[in-house]
Amino acid sequence: MPVSIAFPKADDVRRPNKIKRYKPDMAIVPYDDFITDIMNILGMGLSMAGLMGRIKICAWLALFCSLIGFANARSMGRNASFDDSKQVLSSFMLSISALVMSYLQNPFPLTAMWS
């Protein structure tokens, strides 16, 4: 039940002549969202390990990191003050290539590595 705050209908409060266009820096964007950056860097490190050292677990973790980075990515949209799409794309490519390479070079399942 909305509280009765009535606005005088008589004088229209709108001012079409005083319109100001939107600029990205006006928004209250939460700056504390570093998860994407951390995950991307972590993903790159792990995929390097997976690619060079042929450690399959690192390649899998790298894929998960880039996926988490993708989920938290900020503004893939056009009018973007922060654009993470390039970073996310590159970390995906790197982690998938690490995974494929580590399986091509050493096609044994993960269990073999542990035993």
């Binding site: 909305p2 509280v3 705050i5 606005f7 409060v13 709108r14 001012r15 079409p16 002549n17 005083k18 319109i19 100001k20 266009r21 939107y22 600029k23 990205p24 820096d25 006006m26 928004a27 209250i28 964007v29 939460p30 700056y31 969202d33 998860i35 899998w60 894929l63 998960f64 996926l67 988490i68 989920a71 938290n72 990515a73 900020r74 503004s75 893939m76 949209g77 056009r78 009018n79 973007a80 003050s81 922060f82 050493n106 096609p107 044994f108 399942p109 993960l110 269990t111 073999a112 542990w114 035993s115």
Partner: protein, 491 residues
């Protein structure tokens, strides 16, 4: 002998599958070993090549397999490669018979006792792949792929629930916003304005939130009296991120609706005020520099008739009483757990990161903003009900805009406010004094270099000489008096 060894290795292979988890080396020591000493892996490859050649005729393939599995896995692929090569060699009969002329005679005597060994029909032992690369061994991979798919499904559902919430907010609040603002929803990128006709044809283009992230949506409205613009930011839970959702089960955080109003310069008087839940105000005082500068002391809310869970940070005592009239207090009482904080400031400066900080010579022009943050109720069923509760809070914000416009500081409050701002300005100038010094120095040198360059470029010699003289005289004049003063003191 070859057949027998096959069963043995076959049986080994069977056990191998069951004991795949056991340590590889451990398995190696079990079977009765013909050659007890495990060859050191370093020189294993060359010896095993020669062995396999010999092993092919006499003993079973098992021993070759044992040596092979002693090396690490890479060698196994090497081992198999040798087998293929070996068999390829034997098939081709073109090797030169002369080469083997003396070979038959000097066979070892033991062989001569029995009838000469007939050419054995060669049979390659079917070597089982030790580690089992068939599909059922990849169960860990299937588990991981399952987690990936689960994450993706969670992402999709989370994203849609968030966009449904945003759509519900828009459905509830659209007509109120259109009554108050002539421009609702602006991407800022399109050259022409989303005109009225766009909206009437149901042009969804304009009336859309800007998607900052999967859980953050912003909407810009402009074109209202006293207000340059109003930004509504819906900061929802990260439903699209599985990890965060799990984390939020232990430390819950509400969906938030933040409204920031950019007031016009002459519409708001000079005061800074913040009231809200204790946690929210402390977080905000860290985030907003002017709260620390202008309102150091923190008062509890009950004094002003606010619910007890709230406290107040005010620069001027009278501004609290002026803003919190009966209507506002009733709304705050009714929606106590929804209201996070209400923040009024005429000295708002966007946060400047350290790199540009020292380049700022003059203090930038502060903006006048009102920022209100509300939490969406958690236990409400459908998105529409949750947004229904937000409607009066948006009304409250617009009401506060008019209230701030009508509020004028009393004389002594005005003086106090001016004094505060003056001291902050001086402090800023003091802190950037060094930088301004350097900048002035740079400018002077720049000017002198310009001067010199102009003189050199001068074509006709006499004007050039005149310019040089003038420059020299100016130099001397500048340096001249200092020298005189020193002389007088020394006498």
């Amino acid at each position: 002998a070859v057949g027998q060894s096959e069963d043995e290795s076959g049986e080994n292979a069977g056990t191998v599958n069951d004991f795949a988890e056991f340590d590889e080396d451990e398995f190696m020591n079990e079977p009765p070993k013909k050659q007890p000493s495990p060859a050191p892996s370093s020189n294993a490859p060359p010896r095993s090549d020669e062995d396999t050649f010999v092993a092919k005729e006499a003993p079973a393939g098992g021993s070759a397999q044992e040596e092979a599995s002693q090396d690490d896995f890479e060698d196994i692929s090497v081992e198999e490669a040798d087998d293929e090569d070996a068999s390829v060699e034997l098939d081709t009969d073109q090797y030169d018979p002369l080469e083997f002329e003396g070979f038959e005679e000097d066979r070892p005597p033991a062989g001569a006792g029995r009838n000469p060994p007939k050419q054995q029909e060669l049979k390659i032992a079917e070597v089982p792949i030790v580690l089992g690369r068939s599909w059922e061994h990849y169960f860990v991979e299937y588990l991981l792929i399952g987690c990936l798919l689960l994450y993706l499904v969670w992402y999709a559902t989370g994203k849609t629930t968030n966009s449904k919430l945003v759509q519900a907010w828009l459905d509830v609040h659209l007509d109120l916003l259109k009554a108050h603002f002539s421009l609702v929803g602006d991407e800022g990128t399109s050259k022409e304005l989303p005109t009225e006709t766009d909206e009437s044809e149901g042009g969804e283009k304009a009336l859309k939130f800007i998607k900052e992230a999967d859980h953050v949506y912003t909407l810009w409205c402009s074109g209202r009296q006293y207000v340059e613009g109003l930004v509504v930011t819906l900061k929802l839970k990260k439903r699209q991120d599985l990890i965060n959702s799990i984390w939020r089960m232990f430390r819950p955080c509400p969906d938030q609706m933040c409204i920031r109003v950019y007031m016009e310069k002459e519409e708001m008087d000079t005061f800074v005020l913040c009231l809200g839940k204790k946690a929210a105000t402390s977080r905000l005082s860290k985030e907003m520099a002017e709260l620390g500068l202008f309102c150091p002391d923190r008062k509890s809310g009950d004094r002003f008739g606010l619910p007890s869970s709230m406290n107040v940070l005010a620069e001027l005592g009278e501004s609290v009483a002026a803003i919190l009239d009966q209507k506002v207090l009733s709304v705050l009482d009714k929606y106590e757990n929804e209201v996070d904080y209400l923040f009024f400031s005429d000295q708002y400066l966007p946060k400047v990161d350290e790199t540009q900080k020292d380049k700022q010579l003059k203090r930038p022009e502060p903006a006048k903003i009102l920022q209100f943050c509300f939490n969406l109720p958690k236990d409400v069923g459908s998105p529409n009900d949750a947004m229904e509760r937000m409607h009066p809070l948006l009304l409250l914000s617009l009401y506060l805009v008019d209230k701030v416009h009508r509020y004028r500081l009393s004389r002594e409050a005005k003086l106090k406010a001016e004094k505060n701002r003056q001291s902050v300005q001086e402090e800023f100038l003091k802190s950037t004094h060094a930088q301004r010094q350097e900048a002035a120095q740079l400018r002077r040198e720049e000017k002198r270099r310009e001067e010199k360059k102009r003189i050199q470029e001068e074509e006709d010699p006499d004007r050039q000489r005149k310019l040089e003289e003038r420059d020299y005289r100016k130099e001397m004049k500048k340096r001249g008096p200092k020298v005189k003063a020193v002389k007088v003191k020394s006498m």
